[in-house]
């Protein structure tokens, strides 16, 4: 079947979002994955946006997490403190994040490259709501291209906490227990996190990709599950809905 990397990542991500759960998403691929999940697998999935949108019937892809599409025919049009406090109370199951760098514990940098904070070599937007969502939602997922520059031994700046330095580190820092990175979905594979060490552990390799290719594109040592599988490629009905209903103008899936 013919599909591109972006379509593959969105389809894979959509299968993790259970019915009757709550997800906070941003724009782009995560929003597409949540919309696809809602149309195909989890009709009662509650989609929230950090600026205040609660349960919209999304007519099309939002451009901003605060634009009027994010509360189009919604259940509620609330506020940023309300959504963030809902996360802090432990009611939000999933969130999706992205970033310029990520390490083996799932710590994410979306702030800067360089070592001088006041005059960075490259400045990115910063946390936005990412740190809040990654600190307070139960399970954090990432949809990201995989390469050595991005998957790095040490991130220049920890914007958003993954498992920090390993087991127990989040709790020691004062973050709520039992939450953190859950899956990283890349153009090469699906990665989970090892229960013991909290390090990235490859769970399945995408069709046509190899173990060597994954190693070559990762700046740190990966763990591998024993029964390594091939990721299931996008299903026919997933692609149909993604292309015809979720992203008909190919804003996201056309980026490839």
């Amino acid at each position: 079947m013919d599909y591109n990397n972006m379509e593959l990542m969105i389809c894979l991500a959509s299968r993790y979002l259970e019915d009757d759960s709550i997800v906070v998403v941003g724009t782009g691929a995560p929003c597409a994955a949540a919309m696809l999940a809602q149309k195909l697998y989890s009709p009662r999935l509650m989609i929230m946006f950090e600026a205040g949108g609660i349960g919209p019937l999304l007519p099309s892809m939002p451009i901003s997490v605060g634009d009027s599409r994010t509360f189009y025919r919604a259940l509620g049009a609330s506020s940023m403190p309300d959504i963030m406090e809902t996360c802090q109370r432990g009611l939000v199951d999933y969130t999706f994040l992205g970033g310029a760098q990520i390490d083996c514990y799932g710590n994410i940098n979306s702030t800067m490259i360089g070592d001088n904070h006041q005059a960075p070599k490259v400045r990115f937007p910063g946390s936005g709501g990412a740190n809040d969502l990654g600190s307070l939602c139960w399970k954090t997922m990432m949809i990201t291209p995989q390469d050595k520059r991005r998957f790095t031994e040490k991130v220049d700046f920890i914007t958003t906490p993954g498992y920090l330095t390993g087991p127990g580190a989040r709790e020691k820092a004062g973050l709520p227990p039992d939450c953190g990175p859950y899956k990283v979905i890349t153009n090469l594979c699906v990665i989970g996190f090892d229960d013991e060490s909290k390090r990235m552990k490859v769970e399945s390799i995408h069709p046509g990709r190899t173990r060597e290719e994954i190693i070559e594109n990762t700046g740190f040592e990966l763990l591998w599950v024993d029964n390594l599988e091939e990721s299931e490629s996008p299903r026919k009905e997933e692609l149909a809905i993604l292309r015809n209903e979720v992203d008909p103008y190919r804003y996201i899936i056309g980026r490839e």
Partner: protein, 340 residues
């Protein structure tokens, strides 16, 4: 009275930031109470003015400002342009998902310090080259926070407190470069992060409707504006429509900003342009793209700013440069999805 003043004065020298990041505004709740007691008008009087007067009389060089809305959604563009036109300098900014608002203030070199949650980007639209260069040059003092942290800093101020305990940022470099302090819950022993209240000198918020006294109603998401309105020492409201007081009284549950928080009211139709105004008009993506593109070349950018900001008298002049009522009608149709 004398005791009060001394107390506040004494505390303002003793409060100390603990993180690496500077705290740009004084979080002292008693100092704020003093200001609100003495400077905030209780009289329900007409406050209608012009954008030019509001900016020249209420925003001083060096002030710290908080901008309502969400970057490209329900933003007070007319006031931001006027700040640039009047060449205000050394402003502090709460960079609470500051996207196009940040871009405008950077274009005018108006900012010298910024509390950051989100800057230099325009979400899915990409990054602003001009804003990035300004930040990377080191000319702006930066303190890191998050969207929730800045929201809760406003909330602490709105509650009349000097801080709130929160559970984000812990364990990260975002915490390290913030002005927050770790603390222990006196009841459970849990570790929290204390974020200082944020009382901006000036808040600027664009609303759907408001009366001449400043009683304001917003349709759709509130973002952080209910707290920003209460935290700000001075508050400028721009409104799509000025309405009779009766219209407000018909639906009092919708009034999120009562008059006693408001210092100036200006009617600015299409005032969030090129941003989105829920139920009114969608964002002008073509214009936002043109702006980002103009940043690739300094001369093109200068010409762009001259055409749209410096070369026009006021916000209506700006709307003329982008296609006037015909373009705004298209954006209205886009928002209400008359055409899919």
């Amino acid at each position: 009275m004398r005791y009060y003043n001394d107390l506040v004065k004494e505390r303002s020298v003793t409060y100390k930031p603990a993180g690496k990041g500077k705290i740009f505004t004084n979080p002292d709740a008693d100092r704020a109470r003093l200001y609100f007691r003495d400077q905030k008008p209780r009289k329900m009087i007409e406050k209608v003015t012009t954008v030019r007067k509001a900016v020249s009389e209420m925003i001083n060089d060096g002030d710290y400002i908080g901008v309502g809305g969400f970057g490209t959604n329900r933003i007070p563009t007319a006031v931001l342009h006027e700040i640039v036109r009047q060449k205000k300098k050394n402003l502090g900014l709460a960079g609470h998902t500051a996207t196009h608002d940040f871009q405008i203030l950077i274009a005018g070199s108006c900012i010298n310090r910024c509390d950051i949650a989100y800057i230099v980007g325009l979400e899915a639209r990409g990054l602003s080259k001009m804003a990035r260069q300004a930040v990377e040059s080191g000319s702006i003092e930066l303190t890191e926070w998050t969207n929730a942290a800045i929201t809760w800093r406003y909330k602490a101020a709105a509650m009349g407190l000097s801080f709130l305990p929160v559970r984000c940022m812990l364990g990260t470099d975002t915490e390290k470069y913030s002005g927050a302090v770790e603390m222990e819950c006196p009841f459970t022993g849990a570790k929290y992060l204390a974020v200082p209240a944020l009382y901006p000198d000036v808040g600027v918020i664009h609303v759907h409707r408001c009366d001449v006294y400043g009683n304001s109603q917003i349709d759709g998401i509130m973002i952080a504006d209910q707290d920003l309105a209460r935290a700000a020492k001075r508050l400028i409201i721009t409104t799509e429509r000025l309405v009779p007081n009766d219209v407000i009284r018909r639906e009092p549950a919708k009034t999120v900003i009562p008059y006693y928080l408001v210092d100036a009211v200006v009617e600015v139709p299409f005032g969030s342009y090129p941003g989105n105004m829920p139920y009114e008009y969608f964002s002008d993506e073509d214009h936002l793209r043109d702006w980002l593109k103009a940043e690739n070349d300094p001369e093109t950018l200068a010409a762009f700013l001259e055409r749209h900001i410096y070369g026009v008298k006021d916000f209506n002049g700006y709307l003329d440069t982008i296609g006037g009522i015909a373009r705004l009608q298209e954006l209205r149709n886009l928002e209400t999805m008359v055409e899919k």
